[in-house]
């Protein structure tokens, strides 16, 4: 086993014991990025010198016997949706290509205070909208298990960089499955905390009632380590919850005795790939062998989750993204060209005597907004702005937005009822393993339906995670989805860890790194 195959938890022990320096460790991951990221393309930006300087500073402080933060010396990759002061934060969008935030997101400030080494910003679907990473304005990310396939999304870069051992830990965000789905497709572990567990301050907003930040890593223990640093109340986010943060790392090794697992009938129906189903059922048997009791239950509103989500998320997105106006920050269209075009348009309409069209032509300010946004946003972001604007427009609000909010409550009630009977829900995280790059790009609805197992978690506001539970015959990773009642991250992590003690799926590495799905 080489250095970079070891877990973050092992690295931390080595750092503390002085068996390795942060510079050595950081250099090992930077070397791996050098070797493989030209093909995986998980990162949007890496600043090796800044990372090494930081590592050196931590080593120096350690040598001087100074007290250090919780993650001292550990490299962490950051999804480019989180504001880093003075450093580009693009959301993989042209509109933010040159944006340098004037402040750090709360989770970034926490990571810095914990003395983590921020190793780079990872690729994503533009504004976190998408499940394949193909919506990045800069380049797609490739799945390390098969470079012709998607890594999932929207935190595809974060999942791929952990899978390719280019970082031991990564921070992602999850609005409808954006941590769990790529974790599943790349064979790593990823957790979406309960809404309110982690501050969203400085997370570029997509859908504010659904967005949540969480960890990606190789193991449940490593997720516990990172979540402990990320979680906690923040006065700067009024939706963050003022509850004590459990010491996840202290309890994660304790198996859950008398665990009651629920399988949702509706999640084992049409559209579920046979190999995914087989792997998930085998995982359930592993839990049974560890003493868990399994019951089948029904969540009658789960078939409406995708429709509900794709009303609510675009509505919130269309209103959140109204801030990109080409005035305060972000891309602005060439103003001279815009004014010249507008003038020519006026002259043409005047000549044609088209009074109505002339009156309908917008003023230069509105035209500036429209052109800046048209040039700055990619196709999927435009689609969601259009969808949301439509659903919120006069005459459609009740039929779409209000209706979806009502169904959202029914979905939450399904969960509440389920958790009266069971401790965790267990099932597939995606309906199939990773698909080919380009396969669904022209069919937005097919792309949306890929999210059918994950979106209801965000609608309900509860916590969930994905861990590796097997491989398809083509050697592609399969993810296992565990969902828990609100603020039961500890239960999720303990449940994941007991599975990882009994299996070794999480330890496999892609063939491009000299590993294989078989061992």
């Amino acid at each position: 086993m080489t250095l970079i195959d070891r877990t973050a938890t092992d690295h931390l022990a080595d750092l503390i014991a002085g068996r390795i320096s942060s510079v050595e460790l950081t250099r090992a991951y930077l070397d791996q990025i050098d070797r493989h990221d030209s093909r995986v393309r998980a990162f949007l930006r890496v600043d090796p010198q800044a990372a090494l300087d930081r590592a050196e500073d931590i080593d120096r402080r350690r040598a001087a016997g100074q007290s250090l933060g919780r993650l001292a010396g550990l490299p962490v990759a950051i999804k480019d949706v989180l504001c880093t002061q003075g450093e580009p934060t693009t959301c993989a969008s042209r509109i933010l290509e040159n944006f340098r935030p004037p402040y750090d997101a709360t989770v970034i400030a926490r990571l810095k205070a914990a003395d983590a080494v921020l190793i780079g910003k990872t690729n994503m679907d533009e504004f976190a909208m998408g499940g394949s990473n193909e919506n990045s304005a800069f380049h797609p990310t490739h799945n390390p298990w098969d470079l012709s396939r998607i890594p999932g999304g929207s935190s595809g870069g974060a999942a791929a960089c952990v899978a390719a051992r280019m970082a031991p830990l990564a921070v992602g965000s999850d609005t409808g499955g954006s941590i769990r789905s790529p974790a599943g497709l790349c064979g790593v572990s990823g957790l979406k905390p309960t809404y309110g567990r982690v501050s969203r301050y400085g997370l570029v907003a997509f859908a504010s009632s659904l967005d949540q930040i969480g960890p990606l890593a190789q193991t449940a223990e490593d997720m516990a380590l990172l979540l402990e640093v990320l979680a906690g109340h923040d006065a700067a986010d009024s939706t963050s919850v003022n509850l004590p943060v459990p010491q996840y790392t202290k309890t994660v090794r304790q198996p859950l005795a008398g665990l009651r697992l629920g399988m949702v009938r509706e999640h084992f129906g049409d559209g579920l790939d046979v190999e995914v189903e087989a792997a998930v059922r085998e995982a359930v048997r592993v839990y049974e062998s560890l003493g868990a009791k399994v019951t089948w239950l029904s969540m009658p509103h789960s078939k409406y989750a995708v429709a509900t989500y794709y009303v609510i998320a675009p509505c919130e997105a269309s209103s959140n993204l109204a801030r990109y106006d080409g005035v305060h920050y972000g891309h602005r269209t060439d103003e001279k060209q815009m004014l010249a075009d507008l003038q020519a348009e006026h002259a043409r309409l005047q000549k044609a005597g088209d009074k109505r069209a002339l009156e309908n032509t917008e003023n230069p300010l509105i035209r500036m907004y429209r052109r800046s946004r048209a040039e700055g946003f990619g196709p999927e972001v435009k689609r969601r702005i259009m969808l949301g604007t439509y659903a919120l427009s006069a005459g459609y609000y009740d039929a779409y937005y209000k209706k979806a909010l009502q169904v959202r409550r029914l979905i939450r009630q399904d969960f509440d009822r389920a958790f009266e009977e069971v401790d965790l829900l267990i099932g597939p995280v995606t309906p199939t393993p990773a698909f080919k790059i380009g396969e669904k790009i022209d069919d937005p609805l097919a792309m949306y339906l890929f999210d059918l197992y994950t979106v209801s978690t965000n609608l309900a506001g509860i916590g969930a995670l994905s861990i590796p539970c097997g491989f398809s015959s083509a050697g592609l990773p399969i993810g296992l989805h565990l969902q828990a009642p609100p603020f039961e991250e500890e239960r999720l992590l303990r449940g994941a860890r007991m599975f990882q003690q009994a299996t070794d799926w999480h330890g496999r590495k892609p063939a491009m790194l000299g590993g294989s799905a078989d061992c």
Binding site: N98, F99, R100, P102, Y103, Y195, S209, A235, S238, T239, V241, H301, Y304, V306, A307, Y310, V311, D325, G326, V327, H328, Y329, R332, E335, E362, N363, P364, L365, I366, R367, Y369, R370, R371, R373, A374, K382, R383, I385, M386, L387, G388, T389, Y390, S393, Y400, K402, K403, A404, L405, Q406, V407, R408, R409, L410, R412, P444, L445, N458, A460, G461
Partner: protein, 94 residues
């Protein structure tokens, strides 16, 4: 559910987007598909169901009315594509 071209153009204006001819055509079909799928929600009986706008039932989270430092003007203007020393600049509105 299908959308007409004037509807798509109107939504694009409301959403402050400017779509090319080709985008309008593609968007008309794709939005129609997605909205058609959403008609599924019509079969759910939501009589007397309170809309769920947020995952946490919190209202009016207040902090003490104490002044905190905030961004100074230079920082606030730093990312503006067009500005002078003290203002954001925009095309003439009138």
């Amino acid at each position: 559910m299908s959308l007409s071209r004037p509807e798509v153009e109107k939504i694009a204006l409301l959403g402050r987007l400017l779509l090319s001819e080709e985008e309008i055509k593609r968007m008309t079909v794709q939005l129609g598909d997605v909205l058609g799928y959403m008609d599924l929600l019509g079969e759910v009986d939501t009589t007397n169901v309170e809309p769920m706008v947020h995952a946490q039932d919190m209202t009016n989270v207040f902090r003490d009315d104490v002044a905190h430092p905030s961004l100074d003007r230079g920082q606030a203007l730093a990312n503006a594509p067009h500005r002078d020393e003290e203002c954001y600049l925009v095309p003439a509105v009138l």
